[in-house]
Amino acid sequence: MFRFQSLDDDCTLEEEDGGLVAEEDEIDQFNDDTFGAGAIDDDWQEEHKRLAGLDEQPAVGAEGGGGGGMGRESDLGGVENSSSTHLPSSLGHHPLPSSLPSLNFSSSSSGLPPPDVEDRGGEGDLAESLARLILEADPAIAGVGATERPSPSLIATGASLSALHGLDRPRVLQQHSSIPHPHQPPHHHQHQLPPGPSTTGLPPGPPPSSMLSYQQQQHLLRRGPAPLGQMNSHSIWENSMGFGPVSVTPGLVTHMEDSPLMSIIKEVGLPKLPPQGRNDEGRDLSERVPPPRSSSPVIGSPPVRAVPIGTPPKQPMSHSLNHQTHHPAAVHVRAPVQHRYPPPFPERLSPNTLLNIANSPLCRGPFPPGVGPVLSQIQRAQLLNSQVAGFPRGGPLLPGAGGFRPFFGGPPPPHGHRMGPLPPHGPPNHTPPIRHNTTHLHPQHRRMLTQRMQSRGGDRGRTGGDRRSRDPYSNLMTQKEKEWVTKIQMMQLQSTDPYLDDYYYQNYYEKMEKRQERERDSSKKEHTTKLITPQVAKVEHTYRPVQFAGSLGKLTVSSVNNPRKMIDAVVTTRTDDEEKREKQVWNKRRQILYTVEKMYSLLLEVQDFEKRFVQAPEEDREALLEQHKTNTVQLCNSLRDKEWDDRVSDEQCVMIMSVRKGKRLISRLLPILPSPQATAIVMAIARNLPALAKKDKQDQVLCWLVEPLSAVIQSLSSSALTDLLQELQGSEGQLATVLHNKFGVTLLYLILSEGERMQSSDPNCQLMDDNRWTELVFSVTRELLSVPSSSLSPPLFTPANLLSLFSRYVDRQRLELLQNKLQISALSR
């Protein structure tokens, strides 16, 4: 940076150059290898230096730049004048065998001593030298000399065509530089190479002129004259605005073979492509190959015009055109001041590009080293100027921003040399720029080139001093990128509930709108742009597992956003009532269990009493006894439903017996209970036998009760026994149920046998006092007989005296039946 600032005069360049040529060559060569010759269309350093030097001119900034530019132009012209002397010397700098022309050339061009050029001013042989220069610059033309030709005319044709060939490829040439060596044939074949992918391949060798392909012609025309022609022949340059036909490059004629070529060119008069045709194709030149350099028939003679004078050019540089027409001091070497912004090279070839083209054959060596670089630094500067027309040369320097000055001088070179395809949607009134083949470039690079071109095209459309439009670095951020950032910002504004997320903004916005509504008349239809934040749809994202019809299970396709259910658990919601009921049931059961447990513990204590009593010392025995009594009482009490009721509660008993443990408990309890309570329990059992039997279906533990029950029964009085039997028969059908149940049958037998025993043992037994017993027995027998054998469950045991019992009450027939049924053998008596 500082180096530019300190650049006082251009002489420093030449001083540096001598020693640095080789290094710069290498560096540039590496650059080209990396980026392709198309990437670096210029030697930015040189341009930078030069333009910085322009800025540093002591004159007024604007003028200084202009003057500098002018100086450069004049220098350029001067070079042409003395081309014959100058070129060889400069060419001598080059290591010719290099196959990378652009690099060498650029470096070589840097070595041109501008001051030398300034001295020359002769105009006499300007045209000639110019022509020579151009011709030399044209690789194809230069290469013509290297090819064999059958006949001069053919040769010339071939030369012209191959000129087209080579011309049309600045890209090709650059490609060559970028293509690794194996691809590159010897340079002298270069012009014979097929032009490139986008054009038809010409057969090697000089093709006839009639085979000029459309595209080639096009290219020729598009290319327009070399920039050098600018200075000396403005009339040429009018046409060269891009649509002029044959602005024949004056330099198409090598100084060796000028006559044949010139004659041929005069003959052929390269056809001009109608501008309309060009327009029809649209501005998109992406498929186009850069056209070859056009050639003008005669240097200095009015160019062939297909477009009449005064036709506004398509390019925006109409003012420049007018300048040219009105200032026909064409041949003057020093371009007039008005030409500060000479018409841009229509195809926007960078000077370096041209130089590259120009230099390629030179470097390839077929030429004598006398040919120097076509474009001196000054020429390049002028080209640059042309291309960045509109760019204020040090013009409105940013006030107060001194630091920017050096930078400001810098931009033009990269700006001028960035050429990319004009995007199809570019401003329609701009000249479609040349688009070199940028396929070898990195896509981003290509994009940048595109947008630079676009920006430049866009900038040119603007008149006036919009500084930003002249800013060559503008639009570094592409539209796409801007939209991308905007999109991200909008995404951050997404909200499912804007009133929740941004309450104040919403309110404020509503207020604003209302206010605007009020203030604005109904006639006014303008609507201020509204920010429409992206609305996020409130979508229910329920998981629905993917299933194929007829397949088992679900696919194991899950992701973060679509997790798979591991278990298809179904939630069963119970109604309140059901829940209550269930709860109640459970509560009751728990209560029963609790009671049973408690009673059990008491029971155990009671049953252990004996043991403890024996073991306990004297003094404790009283206490133990007391405790024992308490326990017993408690047990009894627990059987009662209510505290004040002495009777054993049926319900309680049943409840307790509904639990297996409860049955066990009762069976253990019965022996220790006092008689009335035991009796009561037995009664309860008998009364509720069906229920108990039903509940006992799972447990089948009623039979535990048999023993204690039998003990109790045996202690029963006759009335009690009768009552018991009655209880057993209680309700309708109860006996049947009883008989169904093993325990029931057993119980029944127990009762009967007890009754029988009573009767048989004690003649005073009151069992027969009332008929109840008899009746009951009768009903039992009846039942026993009526009940089918299958439903009669076998008892645990059959008391022996049953037969005698039955024999008392039933006749022989029935007795036999009973006997059979019940399998009471007479032996059991």
Partner: protein, 133 residues
């Protein structure tokens, strides 16, 4: 073109000359070339402007990429507006020298202050370079 009407966005500031003040106290002036969603900024032709008293100096810095979180404020510079400040531009060497002197003076006063506090048994911890905590 207003990309997001009704909001503030840096999109419209692109390619304009801006002045940005960073958290470390530096002042940069440059053309804002690119932004991103974090308000990281790409400055072109950046100049660091150092102010000491009434003098200022510009140091050209080239291209800067500023991480968004380090920006204190950012404002567009109107290049068309006449610059009629009382500030006097000096060369870089001079301004750096001035800055150095300023820093030196500050350090010395700080030192004296710390000494005085220490004598009185007080201590104020130095914030060092923490500007947010």
């Amino acid at each position: 073109m207003n990309y997001v009407p009704g909001t503030a966005s840096l999109i419209d500031d692109i390619d304009k000359k801006h002045l940005v003040l960073l958290r470390d106290g530096r002042t940069l002036i440059g053309y804002l070339r690119s932004i991103d969603q974090f308000a990281n900024l790409v400055f072109h032709q950046t100049v660091e402007r150092i102010h000491v008293g009434k003098k200022f100096g510009d140091i050209p810095r080239g291209i800067f990429i500023v991480r968004g979180e380090n920006v204190v404020l950012l404002g567009e510079i109107d290049v068309d507006k006449p610059c009629d400040t009382v500030l006097q531009q000096v060369s870089i060497e001079e301004i750096l020298e001035e800055q150095r002197l300023q820093q030196q003076a500050k350090q010395e006063t700080e030192k004296v202050k710390m000494q005085v506090l220490k004598d009185r048994g007080l201590s104020i911890p130095k914030a060092d370079n923490l500007d947010e905590y």
